[in-house]
Symmetry: C2
Amino acid sequence: MNHNEQLKLENQLCFSVYACSREITKMYRPYLDQLGLTYPQYLVLLVLWEHHETTVKALGAELYLDSGTLTPLLKRMEEAGLVKRERSKEDERKVMVHLTTKGEELREEASIIPDAMAANSGLSKEEFKKALTGFQQLLDHIHSVNEK
Amino acid sequence: MNHNEQLKLENQLCFSVYACSREITKMYRPYLDQLGLTYPQYLVLLVLWEHHETTVKALGAELYLDSGTLTPLLKRMEEAGLVKRERSKEDERKVMVHLTTKGEELREEASIIPDAMAANSGLSKEEFKKALTGFQQLLDHIHSVNEK
DNA sequence: GATATTTAAGTTGTGCACAATTTAATTTTA
DNA sequence: TAAAATTAAATTGTGCACAACTTAAATATC
């Protein structure tokens, strides 16, 4: 591929991933609107439904987000009564984040989302799994390149 | 997969795409910083390097963005001397966007980016092409689902 | 040919992302 | 153990994204 072809939008992997990510988020929106959640807030809940309690730091490591993004986001979620934030007694640099009853209960309502989204994606179970694995590998690789 | 497994972060295709998109953008950043561009601004230039002149509407159709995003973005690019915006004489609802000499000249400097990024991605030529095709199909599909 | 509808861009307001900096607590090391 | 370095969150400022709305021009319909 020559330089001219390489600079065409249609040949950019970066763009197809970027556009795909935003279209996927749009696909979630009607479902998340019903729960009063944004997409990043939903991701935070996915982590908390699994671990129940975590720190801002650990949450950031899972979601590839920093405190600059998470602090205001978690404040909004606390405002909405979904999570509780409190300074750790053992290490006062850390802030513990855990679910409230309301946040815990949303799990039940959210449980239908994955099936609905998988169906909307138009991918078979095998394609879905293959795409997931491919992405996680690419993510790992690029993340390690970026760390350097 | 049961509901419990389905709600784990590690099984979300949406998350791996979302995180991948942001990590890819980070990979571009040092290169784009040198050109004084943000990632979406780079995408606008990719379109303009190909078409030279377009409208806000057409640009939005290519990039899946609306005027709410593009108008301020294009104003910043105009401020930076990269593009020129002017109302169409034939149809005064439309705003034509075209490159300035400076915007045109950036193409040369940007021409090294695709090779550098492809190398950083760690994908072979075949893997890259396969991933690109897979994504474009997924993007098309989800976009058409979202339209309804 | 006047009125209604549609279209294109811009505006307003909210919520991420993220770089850069600040503050405060903990750990290291001299 | 006092000083230096590191760590965790929070803060500040900029730039997207996008929903909802406004404005103005063009097209359709009556």
